[in-house]
């Protein structure tokens, strides 16, 4: 066969190659099925050479028997360490990989030799989750209700044992963990991302403490927490957990009212009502996110690595994080009663005056601050109906296609005012009743009778200053607010009837 005769066959072969290549287009990634443990562990292995392994734990417990946990797990004095025992501890990636391989494949091989049902032995049969999307394991989160329920469980124990399970410190002399009252910290204060010597990682510590207790109680037939991964790590399942109606205040020596201050007097003192803020959070960690220590312990004025480079000023004022004062306050503005006005304002227009929070005295260095007292100030009531505060306003300035619109001015003001009054936060930060008017009567002097909209908004838009024309100004203010507040009146004829077209 001369080369030239092979040519047509070559062509067909090339075409075939092309068609086959087209099939190799990467498939869409699929999430790991629920209940599987996806063994990827990027924190141990870094970038994987082979696809992760999907480990069916339930299948293994069924195959081995529910009492055979010690085959893979370390079980000491009834306490089960949930991680794979052979691969635990300070191992380098290769040694860890070998531990898994020896453990898994070794057992599979044994069972296969004994003629029992066994798992795979070849690489590709285990490492098969291509394009894996690591499941969204939400970190476990505690709240006051859960804490109270756990406290109730242990309330019959001796005082030094009651809280020791979770709140402990290492006593060097006694060489054991002891409970010290008043020094209860969050778990993450000591238990970090990785095992550090004997201090387990947060993941391992939580699993050891929580799971073994839950398992034990379940074994004894008592009411217990979840024993499966999804029970704690699935946000939906967590939502379904029972919540106590009345939750007693979690006391750890915190003050009721206090000053937020620096001893060297950088700014006016900020009165902080700790007791009033507590019910607005889910747990201490809502604000004390890394540790129960005060903010300034890690967030220094200059910014240090312990604080993630976040300066003290940013820790209090950073608007983008819910952990800061200003950030949480801004997030609260998304409540239905607030978002009508606040949702439409640009970030820069939304800045409240500093003095609303910085209401305390200047403190000279070394001088003790006065006793902090709760803020009982309220805001003045709405004024009576007058020319300055009309019952209704008829907007007839542009009426051409539509009839004039009658706006229930007082009704709207009362509703918005009520939203302010019922919110402690709003009342304090507004400070006075006129601030609430600024939502619609923007960019005008506070306390004075506001100018008419058409004083600044001409009929045509002014592009250079991005000021809409009068019609658009009305629509954006009114309809925008209605949209944000979920008020149904958003259509044209909801506010103004259509004019009869002259024939």
């Amino acid at each position: 066969m001369t080369p030239i005769r092979i040519a047509p066959l070559l062509f067909i072969a090339l075409l075939g190659v092309a068609v086959v290549a087209a099939q190799q287009a990467p498939a869409a990634p699929e999430p790991a099925p629920a209940g599987m443990i996806l063994m990827a562990y990027p924190e141990d292995f870094g970038e994987l050479e082979r696809p992760p392994v999907d480990f069916d734990h339930a299948r293994h417990t069924t195959a081995l028997g529910a009492d055979q946990c010690s085959k893979c797990h370390l079980v000491e004095e009834g306490v089960l360490t949930p991680s794979f025992a052979a691969a635990a501890g300070d191992l380098d990636p290769d040694a860890r990989m070998d531990a898994y391989h020896d453990g898994c494949q070794g057992c599979h091989q044994e069972r296969a030799e004994q003629g029992l049902s066994a798992g795979p032995l070849t690489c590709g049969e285990c490492h098969r989750v291509k394009n894996a999307v690591l499941p969204d394991q939400a970190p476990m989160a505690y709240d006051y209700s859960l804490h109270a329920r756990h406290v109730a469980v242990f309330k019959d124990r001796d005082e030094k044992d009651r809280c020791r399970g979770c709140h402990h410190v290492w006593d060097k002399e006694l060489k054991q963990l002891v409970y010290v009252k008043g020094q209860e910290d969050a778990c993450s204060d000591c238990h970090r991302e990785r095992d550090e010597g004997k201090t387990l990682s947060l993941k391992n510590a939580s699993h050891v403490q929580c799971l073994s207790c839950h398992l034990a109680r379940t074994g004894e037939g008592k009411e217990a927490g979840p024993t499966a991964c999804v029970g704690c790590h699935d946000p939906a399942k967590r939502e379904a957990v029972k919540k106590l109606e009345e939750i007693p205040r979690l006391v750890r020596g915190q003050p009721d009212q206090m000053w937020i201050h620096r001893a060297d007097g950088l700014s006016r003192l900020v009165p902080f009502d700790h007791a009033a803020h507590e019910p607005r959070t889910t747990f201490c960690t809502s604000c004390h996110h890394e540790t129960v220590q005060p903010c300034r312990r890690c967030h220094t004025v200059a910014g240090v690595p312990e604080g993630g480079g976040v300066t003290l000023e940013r820790a209090y004022h950073g608007a983008s994080s819910r952990l800061s004062c200003v950030g949480c306050h801004e997030a609260e503005q998304e409540a239905i009663g607030c978002v009508g006005c606040h949702g439409g304002l640009a970030a820069s227009e939304n800045d409240s005056e500093c003095s609303r929070c910085h209401a305390g005295p200047w403190l000279a260095p070394g001088v003790e601050p006065p006793t902090a007292v709760p803020n009982t100030a309220g805001i003045d009531p709405l004024p009576p109906i007058s020319d300055d505060f009309p019952e209704t306003v008829v907007i007839d300035v542009l009426s051409s296609t539509y009839q004039p619109s009658t706006m229930p001015h007082r009704k709207m003001a009362v509703k918005l005012d009520e939203a302010v009054r019922t919110s402690r936060l709003a009342s304090v930060l507004h400070g006075d009743v006129e601030t609430g008017c600024q939502g619609c009567h923007h960019r005008s002097q506070l306390g004075e009778r506001p100018p008419r909209c058409r004083a600044c908004h001409g009929e045509a838009a002014q592009a250079r200053v991005d000021r809409p024309g009068l019609k658009v100004a009305y629509h954006r203010q009114c309809i925008g607010c209605h949209q944000r507040m979920g008020i149904k009146k958003q259509g044209c004829t909801d506010c103004h009837e259509k004019k009869e077209v002259a024939s």
Binding site: I4, P8, F11, A18, A22
Partner: protein, 390 residues
């Protein structure tokens, strides 16, 4: 009109060919009448998303490419001295002339206001437009082809002085023809350089002008082979070349076509490399592109080579037909198949049957005129009274 041959035999007016051609032509005339009285919407599937359809895709784009044989053969014979192809110069030029006339007729059918066709030259020019350059070159080239066809007419009419005059223009016209052909063949491709978002990246390239020009040369040569195949049989009593001579001509053309197709393939690969588009070949469009490239460029190239080496005329003709189909397919791809490839399915274009009928009738018209001329004028043979042109 009877089909009188040069030898005076009359075969009657109602031959099967004439009847079929007549039906096609009459149908085409009716459709065009409707088109000119009610607008393009009634006889085409053109839309605002697809303003160019079959009439541009075939009549203009493919038509110009297939008529390229004229300048290829005339330059080969007159400029490069390949005298053995002299017998096919006149058929090639006639094919070219009728091909370009078909282009202009198709264009007249497609333009919104065809009576304004000369506007770019007489009213207001838009010289920034590739289409301006194309129209200028096509107009001039059509004139060149017309003049190059007149020697046969003058011989037929016995106008010796006129014949001598146009004969002396041959070299200049051939040079001018090559210049014009290079420009407009490539610029037809360059017209698509302004649509990078609408033409699929496998067909869109900064080298599209070069690709169009080279494929036009290949199409021209193949069209000559196909036309020669038909003419040799239809005008058998006129041709003066021996069978051997005819075979040699075909094999020579096959060799040339193989080289051109091979060059074209290389240019296409270069274009793929420049834009690093290799992974696009693994998509559905990539498969279609490979079918066009492998099945209608590489395969005919190989077939031409095999046919030349083994002296198989049938294979030459098959390869030529495939090349013609391939160039037509390429022009269709660029004009409306791979063009607008991102547009949703409901807005894509497919030709209406009326568009197909008009295109077929234009082709039929060209064939009928070719027959009429070739039966009467010295196209397939050399008139004994006149010296050979150069």
């Amino acid at each position: 009109m009877s089909t009188a041959t040069a030898h005076g035999e009359r075969s009657g007016i109602f031959t099967p060919f004439n009847l079929i051609a007549g039906v096609i032509l009459v149908g085409g005339a009716i459709i065009l009448t409707i088109r000119f009285t009610t607008g393009l919407a009634s006889t085409t599937n053109l839309s605002n998303t697809n303003p160019w359809g079959l009439w541009i895709g075939f009549d203009v784009m493919a038509g110009v490419a297939l008529a390229a044989g004229g300048f290829v053969i005339s330059s080969a014979v007159f400029l490069f001295g390949m005298k053995e192809y002299r017998p096919i110069v006149r058929p090639a030029l006639l094919t070219g002339f009728l091909g370009y006339s078909l282009v202009v007729l198709g264009l007249l059918a497609d333009l919104g206001r065809p009576w304004r066709l000369p506007y770019p030259f007489i009213k207001q020019a838009g010289p920034t437009s590739p289409l301006f350059e194309v129209s200028l070159c096509v107009a001039l080239y059509l004139t060149v082809l017309f003049i190059e066809t007149t020697p046969a007419v003058f011989e037929w009419l016995g106008l010796k002085i006129w014949r001598r005059l146009v004969g002396q223009l041959t070299i200049a016209l051939t040079i001018f023809g090559v210049i014009l052909s290079t420009m407009h063949q490539s610029t037809l491709g360059a017209m698509y350089m302004v649509t990078p978002t609408k033409l699929h990246p496998l067909w869109y390239s900064s080298q599209i002008p070069v690709q169009f020009f080279i494929s036009a040369v290949a199409a021209g040569i193949s069209m000559i082979i196909v036309e020669g195949w038909i003419s040799h049989r239809a005008f058998h009593d006129q041709v003066q070349t021996s069978n051997d001579q005819f075979r040699d001509i075909n094999f020579g053309l096959a060799k040339g076509a193989a080289v051109v197709l091979g060059t074209y393939f290389a240019v296409k690969l270069v274009a793929l490399s420049l834009e690093n588009e290799w992974r696009l070949l693994a998509t559905g469009w990539g498969a279609w592109y490979l079918i066009e490239l492998m099945g209608f460029v590489v395969l005919p190239c190989l077939l031409f080579t095999v046919a030349y080496r083994e002296q198989r005329l049938g294979l030459v003709r098959l390869a030529a037909a495939m090349t013609v189909a391939g160039v037509v397919l390429n022009r269709f791809n660029v004009t409306f198949i791979a063009f607008n490839w991102k547009v949703p399915h409901s807005m894509r274009y497919a030709p209406a049957w009326t568009e197909v009928w008009v295109t077929v009738s234009l082709i039929t018209l060209a064939v009928v005129v070719f027959r009429w001329i070739a039966h009467r004028m010295p196209i397939m043979y050399e008139h004994p009274d006149y010296p050979a042109l150069h």
